[in-house]
Symmetry: D2
Subunit: 140 residues, 4 copies
């Protein structure tokens, strides 16, 4: 299974220069905790709901006059959409990150994968394999 | 294994009447995404970093003049600390919640359990059992 | 969840003095790979289909004139039926065994648990928890 | 991860015409529960320790004068070594089988994969991902 099949393709993107106020409302409407920031059609950063709390509110800044450019985390890693799940896991290990943008060969964003998506997939497969083992004759 | 062994005992509590500004800073310092609200020594609500975004910032309210009382989610369920993991899982199924306060027999808060804690424990046990099966003779 | 709930209660037992020929046929009819040997109403040993191959056939012995007493593995460990799954896992770790007889307080056999049963249960729970996480709002 | 990386390459093969007596001893020496039967350099069947019990001993046949040809299970499915784990799982679902021979493009045997191998791999990955989630900041 490639990352392309696994990833969530309805990722929400915003342009550089978008205000934090707008992003906060978008996160509420779309029921998401994270947006990807785009610069010249390429993903360049990521902003989470928690970033808004820590980097804007706790600093006493105004969400209206603060922009994603100022608070985004730079993308340290994107996953290639043709990569297999297991190769992706090798890359992801050792990074304290929970979400990974997925790009095509030209570096254009095609989706996002979270560790929760991966846990779900592994859990489903584990259950499938365990069910086969259980149903197989003479396991007792 | 009882929930008591599994749960995180360093849960951060705040009294009713605490301002959202204070809670936001506490979440940053303690590196947590959630606090439990206490009323008369009993847990009565829960506030997450996301709640601050949705229920305060997006509504244009001031974190300084808004209080946990106004934005907390009421506790729909607490887990008993003597409960086993599997009974707890039965209770937790069907609820769209990720964090569960844990209480003793008198209803006093003793910790908090997240679905992530449970995933970690199940993953660890799965790996242990799979390792025994792999090492056992003549599995091929 | 106690081991009592998890274990397979239709375990097949044979008395000391039963011939290997009889046991082999029982394993075929009941579609099982293992029987428990009983002495004075207490479980004392275990015979698997593989034991019959290694300890009877490969030695050129006759299944008709060989008895479970001669080829059984002594029980190194039984699990108490009131034990929780997680305590049972602690005991089971480090043993290269796949099947564990379950007894009540008086040492009477009440069932059998295999590592495959445990894998199945853990896989099912993992899948349940992962499904809750996936359905929970704003995980992206 | 391809099936090629996952599979056990030290699979034991026997030619058509090998006696069950020889196979039984081989299973003991090599500590395996299954051999693959080869015809003209291609895998054509599979014999397990349990097959010897059910199809030879229980029928009163002599292991010396019975041959793998008479008791083997025909191969219903082989996995291609270039196949990914997840595609392999799709193929494997719904079959009540525990072991799958792996072949290269020319149909030559290169290894064998068991459901236990797959459980082990999934368990290891689950544990890895759960560990990342646990270590990640602010999950509480």
């Amino acid at each position: 299974m490639s990352i392309s099949t696994l990833c969530n393709k309805e990722v929400i993107c915003v342009e550089m220069g978008t205000s934090v106020e707008q992003v906060g409302k978008m996160m509420e409407e779309k029921n998401i905790g994270c947006v990807i920031v785009i610069d010249n059609e390429k993903p360049c950063g990521l902003v989470t709901d928690r970033d808004i709390l820590i980097r804007v509110i706790n600093k006493g800044l105004s969400p209206k006059d603060t922009y994603v450019d100022d608070i985004m985390s730079e993308l340290v890693m994107t996953l290639d959409e043709d990569m297999g799940l297991h190769d992706a896991l090798e890359m992801v290990k050792g990074m304290s990150l929970r979400r990974f943008p997925v790009t095509d060969k030209n570096g254009n964003l095609t989706g996002i994968v979270t560790l929760d998506d991966i846990i779900y997939l592994l859990g489903k497969e584990m259950y499938n394999v365990a069910s086969i083992i259980k149903s197989e004759s003479a396991t007792l």
